[in-house]
């Protein structure tokens, strides 16, 4: 196609003014080595975000009736498995990684985008069909990446400007991950050779006075007319790393208990309620769900359905064998807290309803009105775990209304929203297998 080639040659010789001209980009520290340092951090970090994100989807046990917030997932749920109850801290850890690491990676993502921004204005836009297609995939990569970070970060702050977090974040993740894998596959050799082109240690010993641009590269990241440096590569890496540390340090506290929780100055769920037994993080108040003191008062009954039917008042439940376990509440939004719960075993309630622990699952219903988490199906494995409780007390005191009085579910290693509060009915039924 000689005509096409001539056209491209003409375009190359006549770039529009401004950012489409290579002289426009003058930073003396942009270059393949710097980009690759950010790239390798993101390669590891985003892989961890992807794994923990996919795990979190599995933790919701979306194959059980009523649990799936994205019922149109099709084959994207191919990897789902029966979510375990042990180790009890697994979801707490994996979701803390997902959220806190995501926040921590924001500066690295921004730095990576800064380091390659001249490529956005590459002229001509494409020299071959291959390049054109690759640039479309970069739209999915950058758009998908920013989309995932933005939706996640807004969601953990309960800033619901988009009314569809779960499907958007899940399907957006698959669009992003496809483009991410291809980008890594295409760029990995270049990243490795760029990382080898300079010594990291030497770079950390190079101050501003000795900072020189990287040698010219085929990708055109290195400025053709570099300005005098105002920051060394060491300084820039320190800035980005320091920014990550700042974000991390001000938010990681919401995943731990004790005095260090107070360090979570800028994070949505590191709040202090007081020093009482019920003074720990709430993420769904009784008032918001229309739970009144009367409904949750002496007239409250727990309805057990199964081969047998039964209605139990709170004193009936308190008369049953009580068990106490230290279990975390771990929210999909990344915060968590370990508390001491006391109540009756779900397995005991299953037997009372004539069901068989280990074979039967349970459909839990709450008094709450509205919202998608007023009910949940817990798997047969979750029902059978000895630490799965219908909790009546916490830290030695009755549950407060905001923590689910008269009774709430607490299941080891389950996502926070599955620990249904204000339980009114438990329906035991054989698990489909």
């Amino acid at each position: 196609m000689p005509g096409g080639r001539r056209g491209i040659a003409w375009l190359t010789a006549h770039p529009p003014p401004g950012p489409f001209r290579r002289e426009f980009w003058r930073s003396p520290v942009r270059g393949p080595w710097l980009t690759s340092v950010f790239g390798v951090v993101l390669l590891v970090g985003i892989t961890m975000l992807a794994v923990t994100g996919l795990l979190s989807y599995a933790a919701y046990d979306p194959r059980l009736a009523g649990n799936d917030l994205t019922p149109q997932k099709g084959v994207l749920g191919f990897y789902l498995f029966d979510w375990p109850t042990r180790p009890v801290w697994l979801y707490r850890l994996s979701q803390a990684i997902h959220v806190i690491l995501g926040i921590t990676l924001v500066p690295v993502l921004l730095a990576k985008l800064w380091s390659v921004i001249p490529k956005l204005f590459d002229w001509p836009p494409a020299r071959s069909p291959a390049q054109a297609l690759e640039r479309v995939s970069l739209l999915l990569l950058v758009g998908g990446g920013v989309f995932e970070f933005v939706t996640g970060i807004l969601n953990i702050q309960l800033f619901y400007v988009f009314p569809f977090f779960y499907p958007a974040h899940l399907y957006g993740a698959w669009i992003f991950l496809g483009a991410f894998v291809v980008h890594v596959a295409l760029k990995l050799p270049r990243m490795i050779s760029a990382l080898r082109s300079r010594s990291f240690r030497q770079e950390l010993r190079t101050g501003l006075a000795e900072t020189r641009p990287e040698p010219p590269d085929p990708d055109g990241l290195v400025a053709v007319d570099p300005a005098d440096p105002t920051v060394s590569r060491r300084g820039l890496l320190g800035f980005v790393g320091g920014a990550s540390l700042t974000l991390f340090g001000l938010s990681v506290g919401q995943t731990i208990d004790g005095p260090l929780r107070r360090t979570a100055l800028l994070s949505p769920h590191g709040r202090e309620y007081g020093t009482g037994p019920n003074d720990f993080q709430v993420n769904k108040t009784a008032a918001a769900k229309g739970i009144t003191a009367r409904e949750a008062g002496p007239d409250w009954r727990l309805e057990l359905l199964g081969p047998q039917r039964m209605r139990l008042a709170r004193p009936d439940l308190l008369a049953m064998p009580q068990y106490t376990y230290d279990l975390p509440i771990a929210c999909v939004e990344g915060w968590s807290t370990l508390q001491r719960w006391t109540g009756v075993r779900l397995a005991d309630l299953a037997r009372l309803a004539g069901a068989t622990p280990g074979r039967d699952e349970v459909f839990v219903e709450s008094l709450e009105r509205g919202g998608v988490f007023g009910h949940v199906t817990l798997s047969a494995r979750q029902v059978a775990d000895r630490a799965s409780l219908l909790a009546l007390r916490v830290n030695g005191a009755d549950l407060s209304l905001d923590h689910g009085f008269p009774a709430r579910i607490i299941v080891p290693n389950a996502p926070g929203v599955h620990n249904t509060k204000w339980v009114t009915r438990l329906t035991f039924r054989p698990a489909r297998s």
């Binding site: 921004l110 985008l113 291959a130 619901y160 496809g178 800035f239 100055l265 800028l266 905001d402």
Partner: protein, 201 residues
């Protein structure tokens, strides 16, 4: 990017297997595709797989009935960084580096230590915290937050200002200390006119 003509290696590989009847036409096809496409056919295959997955995920978005909002947010995300955030912080950086208006350059006897990074770093960190946590700091999600958590968002603005203040103060202290050590190292006998950061050396 990967836009390269068929490599010498590809041709050599054919020469290495002169009697391999299968490989010869395959390599020729690969070469012909590469010549038109601009990269190895594997590149094309990988991208097609990527687009197929994206297309399938997009069909799930449509099935969920949220595609309008999804497309707006997705495309918005793709351009908000490149065409809004990046130009904004670049302009802010240019503004910081300009000399303060009307301020006279001190005489040639004053050797300024480059100060721009002592403003850039705390300002950048503070802006980043605001970028990430603006719904809390600017009380954008107040109603839903109170319903869920049972508390208001009032502490966050103060906390952000506190962190910002500490960052700038820390940066100023480091600048002052470095200025002093640099001055001590030079053993400059002359006193310098620095009213806002007095030296007592």
């Amino acid at each position: 990017m990967k836009a390269k003509p068929p490599s010498q290696n590809a041709r050599r590989r054919i020469a290495v297997h002169p009697r391999d009847d299968l490989r010869r036409p395959l390599a020729a096809v690969r070469q012909r595709i590469a010549a038109h496409y601009g990269a190895d056919p594997l590149h094309l295959l990988a991208l097609l797989a990527c687009f197929a997955l994206a297309g399938y995920a997009a069909s799930r978005v449509a099935a969920a009935g949220i595609w309008v909002g999804f497309v707006i947010w997705f495309v918005g995300a793709a351009i908000v960084h490149d065409l809004v955030l990046f130009p904004l912080y670049t302009l802010a950086d240019v503004a910081v580096q300009r000399r303060p208006w009307g301020r006279r350059r001190p005489g040639p006897h004053v050797r300024w230590r480059p100060w721009v990074n002592y403003v850039r770093v705390p300002a950048g960190l503070s802006a980043l915290l605001l970028l990430v946590w603006f719904p809390l700091i600017l009380r954008q999600s107040g109603e839903t937050y109170r319903k869920a958590v049972g508390l208001g968002l009032s502490p966050y603005l103060g906390r952000w200002l506190l962190v910002t203040g500490l960052l700038f103060a820390g940066s100023a202290i480091i600048y002052a200390v470095r200025l002093r050590t640099a001055a001590a190292a030079r053993r400059g006998p002359r006193r310098r006119r620095r009213p806002e950061k007095p030296h007592r050396k």
